[in-house]
């Protein structure tokens, strides 16, 4: 008996009991669709979370920050120097595990006031850094250029800004309808004039990008409709601010911060903005040192090396600390792991229940068909042929259920995301679909085993006599 024949027989059997077969498949359909849907939602969350993690430098980024002298070293606190340029130089010379190093110096005490184009804006992401900071923080220049070592050397009054600053001071391109590139314009930081020489890309999460593109499309469509109807009337009335919710939810925060960056050369920050202040220290004190380690997998070794180098400089006083993104990554992993686990458990249970349903229906089916099995055996079907036929029937049920389940999963994803909208679009992966489908086939085969075994072992003579 060929495979196609057996499958055809199985399909015929299913078609003969349509309602029963659909009910039987329901378990598998639910199982497969919930497996795929849960996986898609979790994958979406994971993608969103990882996106923000990468946006702030990824796992390889370490920040060295000044911290108060620990209690047991308090008696030596007069000797504590804080994080200084000496540390940066020492690290550059003696810590090969630190691949990229950039000092970071911010204005103390209050957020600097940025002013340009007749507007002001206060931001706390204004820092004096080395040019390498752009690479370290995964910044990409979209217009103009990053300042160079030369600019740093001469302490030139130049800044590179993020699009968030541009939006606040020069206007959003979405509102003006044309690109806004303020390169060459003057920006004042606490009253000191700077030339904007570069602007970073606009950073946003995948989801934000999609939303924005959709809105733009809608706007264009509206505009086209307006033009078509010949009306030139702009919608009037006061502008409406929709509050703080939009654009700053969850993982988008990391992107918001990144867009609100203002970088100037470190020397400019020190010489023009800090050293003259009445409370300025005699040595340039840094707020932090940003480091990218050579290999994120050896981050512990790198941290030990960095600590050893710094300890020499700091005379053994531990007035600094490390901030890594490991906790963040761990949190993502734990969260994603548990989400996946619970989703998988639910899907697994419904697949199991579906499998039991199939087994149940196959057992009922063979006891209805005892005589048929007897006849088939009498005309020459061996135990193997009968066994295979039952297995194929149960597998066909499971496979149809699996395919329908894959289709249903998309509907389920739509349903879930419309009921509980998230920041992150669900991502259906081919892998999860393959796993779900494979699971349904496996369950079909397993569920068929016991009924098929029973059918194969049936005694011909008794089966022929059965009414």
């Amino acid at each position: 008996m060929s495979l196609w024949n057996a499958i055809a027989v199985g399909l015929k059997e299913i078609w003969a009991h349509k309602f029963r077969s659909v009910l039987t498949m329901l378990g598998i359909i639910l199982g497969v669709s919930s497996l795929v849907a849960m996986n898609a939602l979790v994958q979406g969350m994971e993608n969103g979370a990882r996106e923000s993690l990468v946006a702030v430098g990824g796992l390889a980024k370490v920040r060295v920050e000044a911290q108060p002298v620990p209690v047991e070293q308090r008696h030596m606190r007069d000797l504590a120097v804080g994080v200084t340029m000496n540390d940066v130089r020492a690290l550059k010379n003696s810590a090969p595990e630190a691949a990229l190093i950039s000092p970071e110096m911010r204005l103390d005490g209050y957020n600097p006031t940025l002013a340009a184009n007749g507007k002001t804006y206060r931001t706390w992401m204004t820092a004096g850094v080395w040019p390498v900071q752009a690479e370290l923080m995964e910044h990409k220049i979209a217009h103009g250029r990053m300042f160079t070592d030369m600019d740093d050397e001469f302490a030139r009054n130049v800044v590179v800004i993020g699009t968030g600053i541009r939006d606040e001071l020069f206007g959003k391109p979405e509102d003006t309808g044309e690109p806004v590139i303020p390169i060459g314009q003057t920006l004042t930081v606490n009253g000191y004039p700077f030339t904007i020489i570069g602007m970073f890309e606009h950073y946003e999460s995948e989801q934000d990008r999609k939303t924005r593109e959709l809105q733009e499309k809608e706007k264009a469509a509206q505009l086209a409709a307006q033009l078509a109807s010949g009306s030139t009337n702009q919608p009037s009335g006061p502008q409406r601010s929709r509050g703080w919710g939009g654009g700053r939810r969850g993982g988008s925060f990391a992107f918001w911060i990144k867009n609100n960056t203002v970088y100037m050369p470190l020397n400019t920050m020190w010489m023009k903005m800090k050293s003259g202040q009445s409370n300025a220290p005699a040595v340039p004190t840094l707020n932090s040192i940003e480091i990218r380690v050579a290999d994120p997998l050896r981050i512990n070794e790198a941290l030990t090396q960095i600590r050893n180098v710094l300890m020499v400089n700091h005379r053994g006083i531990e007035d600094f600390s490390f901030r890594t993104q490991e906790d963040w990554a761990d949190q993502i992993n734990t969260f994603i792991g548990s989400a996946r686990m619970s989703g998988g458990l639910i899907a697994g249970i419904s697949l199991l229940v579906g499998g039991i349903g199939i087994m149940n229906i196959m057992l009922a089916s063979i006891s209805e068909r005892i005589r048929e099995i007897g006849i088939r055996k009498a005309v020459g079907a061996g135990d193997v042929e009968v066994f295979v036929q039952i297995i194929i029937e149960s597998t066909v049920i499971a496979v149809i259920g699996g395919v329908v389940g894959l289709g249903t999963s998309f509907a389920l994803i739509q349903l879930i995301s419309s009921v509980t909208p998230t920041d992150n679009a669900p991502v259906v992966t081919a892998g999860s679909m393959a796993i779900a489908f494979g699971a349904s086939v496996t369950i079909g085969v397993l569920a068929g085993l016991i009924p098929a075994f029973r059918a194969a072992r049936m005694n011909v003579i008794q089966a022929l006599r059965y009414d």
């Binding site: 006849i375 009498a378 005309v379 020459g380 079907a381 061996g382 042929e385 011909v460 022929l464």
Partner: protein, 246 residues
């Protein structure tokens, strides 16, 4: 060598600790081309004999040789193979699969013999032609009369060109006239040289067959009961006791 050889065949069932000898030391030969009826009262063991002859069952003792193959040693798989290739069955209740139509029913044995679908179709139509059922190819068994169903069943039995055709009370579920048509069909097949073994307790059928084997209490009877064998004509057939009492 005979087509079918039974030597000292016994079949013993254990029923609640009691030993029941359905067949007791039976030896017989059936040659190729013979037209044989196996007769005997119910419970005599003739069905058991047919099951063993038809490779549906294996004997407890003794040897059964079918076309040179020893059946009592065969595995379940080999038995299935022999039922498929060497034996055709015709049952009292037709035993057609209700969900399949006439052609599909006839094709069934060939599916298990691994015949290609076009060849299956051709041979099925040929067999149905032989039993004059080729005008009802697409009908379901439930749309056919008893006699037509039995003719389809005969076509199914013949389709793999078996050495032996077994018929278990083939007319038992049919009226007299239809029964005669079926019987005529068997005679025709016999004249064409097929080995046919009919199990029956109908004397009229037994009368048709050249050879009769009577089973009594699990043994082959020395002398055939003439009334059972249909050698003594009507009037002599005993009406059921219940009917006379009424």
């Amino acid at each position: 060598m005979a087509l079918l050889e039974l030597r000292n065949v016994s079949k013993i069932y254990q029923l609640g600790g009691e030993e029941i000898r359905a067949l007791d030391d039976v030896s017989l030969d059936i040659g190729g081309g013979e037209f044989v009826s196996i007769i005997g009262p119910s419970g005599s063991g003739k069905s058991t004999l047919m099951h063993i002859l038809g490779c549906l069952d294996t004997p407890s003792h003794g040897t059964v040789t079918l076309d040179g193959t020893e059946v009592q040693r065969a595995s379940a798989r080999e038995l299935a193979h022999m039922r498929n290739r060497k034996i055709g069955f015709v049952f009292q209740f037709f035993n057609l699969l209700p969900k399949l139509n006439v052609v599909q029913n006839v094709e069934l044995p060939m599916i298990y013999a691994g015949v290609s679908s076009s060849e299956r179709r051709r041979r099925a139509e040929q067999a149905l032609d032989l039993v004059e059922m080729s005008h009802r190819l697409k009908n379901r068994p439930s749309q056919l009369s008893g006699g037509q169903q039995q003719r389809v069943a005969i076509a199914r039995a013949l389709v793999n060109d078996p050495k032996i055709v077994f018929a278990d009370e083939p007319t038992g579920n049919l009226d007299t006239h239809t029964g005669e048509i079926i019987l005529t069909l068997f005679r025709k097949l016999s004249q064409e040289g097929r080995t046919i073994i009919i199990v029956t307790h109908n004397p009229e059928i037994a009368a048709v067959t050249p050879r009769r084997i009577e089973i009594r209490n699990g043994k082959v009877a020395e002398k055939v009961d003439e009334r059972l064998a249909g050698l003594i004509r009507p009037g002599a057939i005993a009406a059921p006791a219940v009917a006379t009492a009424a």
